[in-house]
Amino acid sequence: MSFDSFAEFLAMGNHGVYVWSAYGIGFVILLLNVVSPLLARQRYFKNEARRLRREAQQ
């Protein structure tokens, strides 16, 4: 462990703002990259299900 306390870990030796904002941006972008294709996949199957139901009714 290179920090003595959790407060020191958060402070990052006065560089906390820089380190945590960088990791914050990185986290948001990675999350976006995971969530958006999964949502697109779900949307596709939902649309296909709706299309199949419509075709079955006709």
Binding site: S2, M12, A22, Y23, I29, V34, R41
Partner: protein
């Protein structure tokens, strides 16, 4: 040499089946490696003797920058495969990998700017490495835009493949920019040929994060490509069966 795997790879159905088997492993590897790398890099690596704790941004910055460049090289390789062997899967790979590569370039540029402020005193300088990375971002934008702008899929695939191949000239410029020009950007942290000059507690998290990012890329790429394969193959029997199976599972 046996080339059947190469021809099989061109078959969307085969790709869909094999990628479904790899996907869970890649996802688990990516999550584990990134988590372990984060903890080691943020909490256990010693602070840099010059930069203090701001250097910890390296564990995000360098893997993203590596991945941004490797993704572009793989676009170019897929471009060659698509042009030479007319494999449709190559175009799917280009279209689906380009947005991920663009996002990785954004991470590299953004974290670089944040790291630059306490280290150089400026968010941005028109330095060779930084400018070349910005050009990489624009190349990604170009490929994405070109892929959407041309409505004929075969023409779009050809145009994107050519842009990917031509743009690869930027990659050695990025790599050697820190050697060719006098720049603020520090030279490479990692080289394949030399032993790392930093202690193991510092470079091991970087290695773990880099491998984690590659697994992350592979997993996300497969999810994106599998959806695109289903869309493009929606007229074939196997794709319709797969869609029916997924709907039945209540996805």
């Amino acid at each position: 040499m046996n080339w059947t795997w190469f021809h099989k790879l061109g078959s969307p159905k085969w790709f869909y089946q094999i990628s479904g088997r790899w996907l869970p492993w890649l996802s688990v590897c990516a999550a584990l490696l990134i988590m372990v790398g984060l903890v080691l890099g943020l909490a256990f690596a010693p602070p840099d003797y010059q930069q203090g704790n701001s250097f910890r941004i390296i564990y995000l910055h360098v893997p993203a920058a590596f991945l941004a460049q490797s993704t572009y090289i793989s676009l170019a390789i897929a471009g060659v495969v698509g042009l030479v062997w007319k494999m449709k899967i190559a175009d799917i790979a280009i279209q689906q990998a380009a947005p991920i590569g663009a996002w990785m370039t954004v991470i590299a540029l953004a974290t670089g700017a944040i790291w630059g402020k306490p280290t150089w005193g400026a968010w941005w300088v028109w330095d060779a490495r930084l400018t070349a990375m910005l050009i990489l971002l624009f190349l990604y934008f170009g490929i994405i835009a070109l892929g959407h702008a041309i409505s004929n899929r075969d023409s779009a695939a050809k145009a994107c493949a050519i842009l990917a191949i031509v743009g690869v000239v930027n990659i050695p410029i990025i790599k050697y920019s820190v050697d060719w020009w006098n720049t603020l950007h520090q030279p490479a942290t990692f080289t394949v040929t030399k032993k790392p000059t930093m202690p193991i507690e510092m470079w091991l998290p970087l290695l773990i994060m880099t491998i984690g990012f590659y697994c992350f890329f592979a997993a996300v790429l497969l999810v994106r490509m599998r959806l695109e394969v289903l869309r493009r193959e929606s007229r074939t029997r196997w794709a319709q069966e797969e869609v029916a199976r997924q709907i039945g599972r209540g996805v």
